[in-house]
């Protein structure tokens, strides 16, 4: 089987896997709406009480838009394969990939994109609705360049988050029980990426410090590109930095797995 046919089959399997339980799939979409709704009511109360037009440098409209977009983006880029990889390493499921002419990294990446494809399409539709609604309500100035850059940075965010998670997965070669570790890292990464709140709530120093980490480039940066909070020059600079982080983590993921794989002994499977 040539590589193209092989990976289209893996991609198709990813799509089928995400649609295996369709009702579950649509309920999980609904599940993403609740935290956004809760935050909407909290921010409404905060702005109504404060009487100020801007808090943490966001106007009321901007913060609501941020909350909705960050909620959608964090759901979109969420990785759920960590446990499968850990299970492959622990129980020997990795063996079958090692003896086959397929790269485990590519298999996981393409399968991940396959699993996210439908979600990406639905998110795109939702975003189109939100963008239209926000621009009609003067919350968002619609610019073609921002829309294009947002679509690019969103794919970048998806890839970067995959690579970060894949690097973390290498620790499964060293730790016996790792599910807790994944819970901790995914939640911390989500917070530091601006998935819960805009990073400005932590204060200026923390925001500046976080700019030197990859995390803001997964949620905070794409969302602010679209909302218009990021200035034009900073958008292109941010895009370059995001590409830099992707390359760095691509290299890191290969390196960590190459080192960790030396420790692996094929048992079971």
């Amino acid at each position: 089987m040539n590589r193209r046919r092989l990976y289209s089959a893996v991609f198709s399997m990813g799509v089928q896997h995400s649609m295996e339980y369709r009702f579950h799939f649509f309920l999980s979409l609904l599940g993403a709406a609740f935290p956004i709704l809760v935050q909407y009511f909290i921010w409404t109360a905060v702005y109504r009480n404060s009487g100020q037009t801007a808090l943490f440098s966001y106007s009321y409209g901007q913060i609501i838009l941020y909350t909705i977009l960050a909620g959608l983006v964090s759901k979109l880029i969420a990785t759920q394969f960590e446990h499968q990889i850990a299970d492959d390493i622990k129980n020997g499921g990795l063996n079958k990939y090692l003896i086959k002419p397929v790269s485990y990294f590519s298999y996981r990446l393409i399968s991940f994109f396959g699993q996210k494809a439908i979600y990406y399409g639905i998110t795109a539709l939702l975003l189109a609705g939100i963008i239209w609604f926000a621009s009609a309500g003067d919350l968002l100035e619609l610019q073609a360049v921002r829309l294009i850059l947002f679509a690019i940075t969103l794919w970048g965010a998806l890839l970067l988050n995959f690579l970060i998670a894949y690097c973390i997965c290498a620790s499964a070669f060293y730790l016996h029980e790792i599910s807790y570790f994944f819970l901790i890292t995914s939640l911390l990464i989500n917070i530091l990426s601006g998935g819960m709140f805009p990073l400005e709530i932590f204060g200026e120093t923390v925001v500046k410090g976080l700019q030197y980490t990859p995390f803001p480039y997964t949620i905070y940066f794409p969302v602010n590109v679209l909302s218009g909070k990021t200035q034009a020059a900073a958008m292109y600079q941010g895009l370059l930095i995001q590409c830099g982080w992707i390359l760095l983590f691509l290299w890191l993921s290969r390196l960590t797995w190459r080192i960790a794989m030396k420790k692996y002994s094929a048992v079971g499977g």
Binding site: L27, T44, N49, S50, E177, L183, L187, F197
Partner: protein, 259 residues
Amino acid sequence: MRLYGIFIKNCLIAQMEFRGNFMMSLLVESVYLFAKLLYVLVVFRTDLHVDGVPPEGLLLFIGMHTVATGIYVGLFFTNFTKIPEYIKDGSLDLMLTKPVSLQFMASLRYVDLALPIPDILVGFAMIGIGWHAMDIPLTFLQLAGFVLLLIVSVVITYCLMIIPALLSFWFVQTSSVSEIANSVWDANNFPMAIYPAWVRRIGTFVIPLFLITNFGPMFLLGHLSWLYAGLALAGSLLLFAAVRLLWKHAVKGYSSASS
């Protein structure tokens, strides 16, 4: 109660066997708690007043929510996650043969003693700070009312959060319903006054979620009379009876999966 004591002892022994896991559980819940404390940061940084209650008073609500979360993850979460597994792999069959109430066995068998520690400690600390800052007298009546509403909160938590697990008697994959329930659970982090009237009505009378963390602090702040505290108790007992009936109905339709 004796049997429940044995369950707790058994879980403690099991958890002490893997002390590393015990510490990791503590760490996981501490990180979740840190995420919740971000709301406190927002409250204080914006000097949020809800319905005339200052940030220090809001600590009563956030603290109560944190304590309720601790009780939920400690007493119920593990069990409610396991119920769909029992149904899927047929291990409920074995439980059916035991001379103990099936609902008691399936929904209360496991107690996690690590997860609730950070929530309970920090939650009660927040309640203590809020209590002191709002100059609420520390009398027997205030304490009794608060403890009563804490019990109401535990009963309602059990009744509401078991429902997604019960759906697995009819559907195979129910984790997304549990996910929704957990998202809705976090709506309780703040006083219900931040929500519009229709949400408050649904959250009080239809799905009595707001009774879990709002009534205790409201009682302390003098926004809730003893009559309403009594009604909340009666409501929680009625809800428990309804869940008991639902459980019995669900078990009637259960057909063994395997084993």
